[in-house]
Assembly symmetry: C2
Homo-oligomer: 471 residues x 2
């Protein structure tokens, strides 16, 4: 494809996306496709000759779109939002167009240095402690997802807990990590990947009302494990759990960790970015004093399209020691000078895209003001929805709801609630997901998509009430 | 950013990329930036107010480009190519614009089903065995990189070798994996991450001439390890090593693996895609009979911009069992029906982009013919370069060079060769990397960038000769 062809087709694709986003409400939110439908509509064999790009765009509308669940739809309220903003898309496009590799500083210095700048910017925007800054002993890095951030934190923690033995000789003896039933599944996955094993990912009790981790039980579990000869490697506290956006008591958990020298990782994947609003800085209470690592996802609620999860550590050395390998073909004078960062040692893969461009684009386009307005709008819309739920005696509202997620339930059996959910989602009008709290199924409505307005939230509530009456 | 603003700025960005690619030869190939230069040119603090996107584009040219090493430059011959073609860029742009999540089938069926189709297409294009197809017990999946593919293969192998015990209870006892000194560093990294430990990543001898793994020594190591009570989990054979594109004897290695029931992973990250040419299918000899998993990177030499590494397995179950966790909020009827693939269980992260769009775009735009022509052009240019080296008595050419990489050296000391390399790279005219073979430094010239022509290769050789004379 020549630069002139790229220019021509590029404009077509840009127009296609602009049209798509302008008319996104014409689509059912959740794809109505049946298993195998998309696959059956595509050729079983690759083409022998090349095709014009128009053919791809035609199939995109004809075959792919009906199989797409529209995460950018203003009535997408499932899971958590996955914001893809204009500047985020353009930043990613620039990254694709430049096509550089940022595995080490020397392979494209700007790819590394812009990343250092923007993660420092984000730390400042969120009011995170100075020791997470690269100028101190810490630093931030863009990962593909909070799952990968969790894994990197786990590996750094294991390295520290084992004095480097795990990397050198493998796991021997029993290492433990601590989560709650509300912790994201990626932490258990990290424990399994790292060779710790699911049974050594210890599940700390939660407060049944707040769903927050119980630091007293944490301490008891740790003491028992140490007595039994295990080595506690990491505790993960969550700020804004996936199920209900519960907030674990970081300061109390941190005090337990400090007593035993255990790595404290904070998973704030969804909610952490909310701290861009000064009135929400309290969510990070305890982080400055106690956290060894902290992850939040601009690709969820901060307008930066996937993938862009930021992980900060207060001491980068255990992470680098856990992940660094220097083969001959990557040796270079900049690395050997020690004056540069090689982000390949801050992540699992070697190769890395120029992801900083999209976060840079987003922060510059919106500014701190615009980012705050986006978060505040989501919280206000969630509060508006919650007020509607609270006013309906056929429904139970879960409180508090400090962010954009509202959990609620019709006063029905679990089976009926699930049937209601299916009915709502099958309609294509809106898309919700669900969770279980103390055995009861709750519906989850997560506000935060870029196109969602107060009217969308009101209409969603009307649709839910209607479906509930029809049930 | 409204759809209309996106349309306007999108065109500017498309034009910026088209202009960049049209004028890329005006830039020094390797960035001339000093450590800290890019960072110093950027504001230390994020903007309070938003800025117009023009400001980003201005800084892109002013600050970022001087810090970029131009991987798409026709005189970029370092490492391996990282092809970013027009259709690849556009496919990625479509993915960003749609902004969907493909973690499970239900979150966007087309994201999963198109991926299944294109990895099956690619398996067919490369002549890979039918058991890697999803219709059989295997299947393919797009990973971000071959490093991640190696890790997933390692975890699946460990799962199989331990009968599921590692995931459940962690590593206990000694597991081993087998590589050679020429195996990519990501395999050792995978062994460290998985809790196997670097010392249990056993390094098999190589043939000093071919640099290929010695299956006799492999067998001896495995036998000794088993006698010592270890459990061998995986052997990694490489088709096209990073250093010299050596090819390990897969069939002989596979026979050893089969004897002991050991997982055989094939790392064909760079060279595997060359099998799109029927005359190069021989590189995969032994794969059909013996390989449990196979990875190759369309993002290196197959015109699909990073990240797009494809991993195939012949039995998907151990991988899924090693990586699957199903929290309540991801439960859905499609998953429970068993009729769909949930690719989150085929990778480390939970979230996933719609990466199939770029590989689909590339295969359709180029067709099988175009893909073959691209590989053949790279090989022909490499052969042309090699002939020039062979004709110069001041240089030693390494043979064979079956792909796009040519290793060669001036008849000088290692220190002088490195000085020559620095001189060449400092010039900005072209960019090479180096390796060590049996203690001797060789220069690596890897052809395969989309814009590289025969003239670029001839001029590169002239510049190398000139620099060597000036030394």
């Amino acid at each position: 494809m020549s630069p002139e062809e790229f220019r021509r087709y590029g404009r077509q694709v840009v127009d296609w996306i602009a049209d798509y986003l302008s008319t996104i409400e014409a689509h059912p939110v959740r794809s109505q496709a049946r298993p195998g439908q998309v696959r059956a509509a595509l050729p079983a064999h690759p083409p022998e000759q090349g095709e014009p790009y128009e053919a791809v765009l035609q199939d995109l509308s004809r075959v792919i779109l009906p199989g797409v669940t529209h995460w950018q739809h203003p009535n997408f309220f499932a899971y958590f939002p996955a914001n893809a903003s204009g500047p985020g898309i353009l930043g990613d496009l620039l990254s694709s167009g430049l096509g550089v590799q940022g595995m080490v500083w020397a392979t494209s210095p700007a790819c590394t240095e812009l990343e250092t700048v923007v993660v420092d910017w984000l730390a400042e925007l969120l009011g995170l402690p100075d020791r997470f800054r690269t100028d101190a002993a810490g630093g931030g890095v863009i990962q593909d997802s909070a799952s990968s951030a969790s894994l990197v934190a786990t590996l750094a923690a294991l390295h520290r807990a084992s004095g480097g033995k795990v990397g050198a000789d493998g796991i021997s003896g029993r290492y433990t990590m601590y989560v709650s039933s509300q912790t994201h599944s990626s932490l258990e996955k990290a424990g399994r990947i790292a060779g710790i094993g699911a049974s050594n990912v210890r599940v700390v009790d939660i407060d049944p009302v707040t769903q927050a981790m119980d630091p007293v039980h944490l301490r008891a579990l740790i003491d028992a494990d140490i007595s039994a000869g295990a080595t506690p490697a990491m505790v993960c506290a969550t700020i804004g759990t996936t199920s209900t956006t519960a907030i674990d008591p970081v300061a109390e958990i941190g005090a337990v960790c400090r007593e035993h020298g255990i790595w404290l990782h904070i998973d704030a994947a969804y909610a952490g970015v909310a701290a861009v609003c000064p009135e929400l800085r309290w969510i990070n209470d305890g982080v400055a004093s106690y956290a060894d690592s902290y992850a939040t996802d601009p690709h969820k609620w901060l307008l930066t399209n996937f993938d862009c999860s930021v992980l900060w550590v207060s001491d980068r050395q255990p992470m680098i020691d856990a992940l660094s390998i220097l083969p001959e073909y990557l040796r270079n004078s900049a690395t050997e000078s020690g004056a540069v960062i090689d982000y390949r040692d801050w992540q699992v893969p070697l190769g890395r895209r120029f992801r900083a461009l999209k976060l840079w684009s987003v922060i510059r386009w919106y500014g701190a003001e615009g980012l705050r307005e986006h978060i505040q709008a989501g919280i206000a819309q969630a509060a508006e929805f919650a007020a509607l739920v609270a006013a309906d005696q056929d429904f139970e509202l879960r409180r508090p709801h400090p962010f954009g997620l509202v959990c609620f339930r019709p006063l029905r059996t679990n089976e009926e609630t699930m049937a209601l959910l299916e009915r709502i989602n099958d309609s294509g009008e809106l898309y919700l997901s669900h969770t279980k709290i103390n055995g009861q199924v709750f519906l989850r409505l997560a506000v935060g998509a870029l196109l969602t307005t107060s009217d969308h939230v009101k209409n969603a509530w009307a649709a839910i009430q209607r479906a509930n009456q029809q049930l």
